[in-house]
Amino acid sequence: MDTVHARFKEKIGEVLLPGDVFSFRLPEDGEGDANIKTEKIICGPGLRRNGEEVQVCKSGILRHKQPNLYWIDSQQRRYVPAKGESVIGIVIAKSGDIFKVDVGGSEQASLSYLAFEGATKRNRPNVQVGDLVYSQFTIANKDMEPELVCIDSCGRANGMGVFGAEGLLFKVSLGLVRRLLAPQSEIVKDLEKIFPFELVVGMNGRVWVKAKTVQQTLIVANLLETCENMTSQQRQTLFRRVAEGSL
């Protein structure tokens, strides 16, 4: 009996609201027991199990990935820190042995002086207030202040650290950020054809762009902001128009 998968499948691609319920109550009669196969379903973000029901807690579209992963794709702009995610932070203050970094969450995160590659107690990293930092969360939960590091577990920087001497930092929704960070992102590939630029994407919805001239930087920033609500065809026509216009 594929009731569980069937119930989910009929809603894939549909918009669901918080409070919608999928209930899987087993039939009362004795015959039903023989036919029931136990199926395993993984509830991703936006879905929560409550006894015999699965409840939706975020509004969005139900997505499915083989073999048994279901989740809600929501357009959210507010970032909630999660462990292991790489984000762009802005250094707000230096206090004692740590920097206070704004990551767009409810609390400021702390970044230790020693969490940079090659940093020792005598050799302090060159970080000023107002710098942009690309770093990863080591501690991020609702009970404690989040902590960031700019090195990985081996002690190497791995692309993290202070950056952004010039360029433009702007904010987009989290859904667009996930699309940009996907392995074969079409948006990035299409943008590359227009002109070369540097791009840093943080999972907290912050994107930093730098191109050869200020005008090109602004064009790339505007294109990324408008891509959010476009289908891929609309996007490609827009990019083609811009490429012809700029060349």
Partner: protein
């Protein structure tokens, strides 16, 4: 105008008399017919009659009061009775070094967890004392690999042992580095009370999600079905 007399609890002043109570002390006391009230520095009796208890001090062969309150005389067997001064009629039980206390976690930090001490042994406390459980005192083994977030969460009820009373500014120092100490009652993120599965995991009965805690091994006779 009489000259100001130096009054230090327990010492006689320059006149050879026990120091008078500080002005206004008498106004704070209330009379009860059952217990005799006393004020600070009052000479109670000599050492030959009684043994000094809490709230008293022994000087020059006499017992002096160090607290303003009520005098209690207790007869304990064949020895001399114990004389003590208490602020209230019921003695306040203070957590002592080595006592098992029940406390509630109020906040956590990568380095320590702050708790409110609720019970000492099985006696509830009237005031909430503050305690700290440091990261290295959570477990007996692998102390440097302890993560506070995987041992306690705010709102957990924890059994701990007092290792130090601390000084004026710091709180009681507690430890859970034994099998019988640790989290007893915890609520999951869904709000249901969790069931312990092992010494480091608890499971929520509603969502079946497992969470990490430093779980106490409670003796079976103390568990209620």
């Amino acid at each position: 105008m009489s000259p100001m007399k130096l009054c230090v609890p327990g010492f006689k002043d320059s006149f050879g008399e026990p120091c008078p109570p500080p002005p206004g002390a008498r106004a704070l006391l209330s009379y009860t017919p059952a217990l005799k009230h006393t004020h600070i520095c009052e000479r109670l009796c000599s050492t030959e009659d009684c043994i000094p208890g809490t709230g008293t001090d022994l000087r020059h062969g006499y017992i002096f009061a160090t607290l303003a309150g009520y005098v209690l005389r207790k007869n304990e067997g064949e020895e001399l009775p114990v004389i003590s001064v208490v602020r209230e009629t019921e003695a306040q039980l203070l957590p002592d070094v080595g006592a098992i206390v029940t406390c509630k976690v109020t906040s956590i930090n990568p380095r320590f967890a702050k708790v409110h001490i609720l019970y000492v042994g099985s006696t509830p406390l009237k005031d909430r004392f503050r305690g700290t459980i440091r990261r290295e005192d959570v477990r007996a083994t692998e102390k440097d690999k302890v993560e506070t977030y995987k041992s306690f969460r705010p709102g957990d009820i924890v059994l701990a042992k007092v290792i130090s009373l601390g000084d004026v500014q710091s709180n009681y120092l507690l430890t859970t580095a034994e099998n019988e100490l640790g989290v007893v009652v915890a609520h999951s993120e869904a709000g249901a009370q969790m069931v312990p599965i092992s010494w480091c995991e608890m499971q929520c009965p509603r969502t079946h999600a497992k969470e990490f805690r430093k779980v106490a091994r409670v003796q079976p006779e103390y568990l209620q079905a």
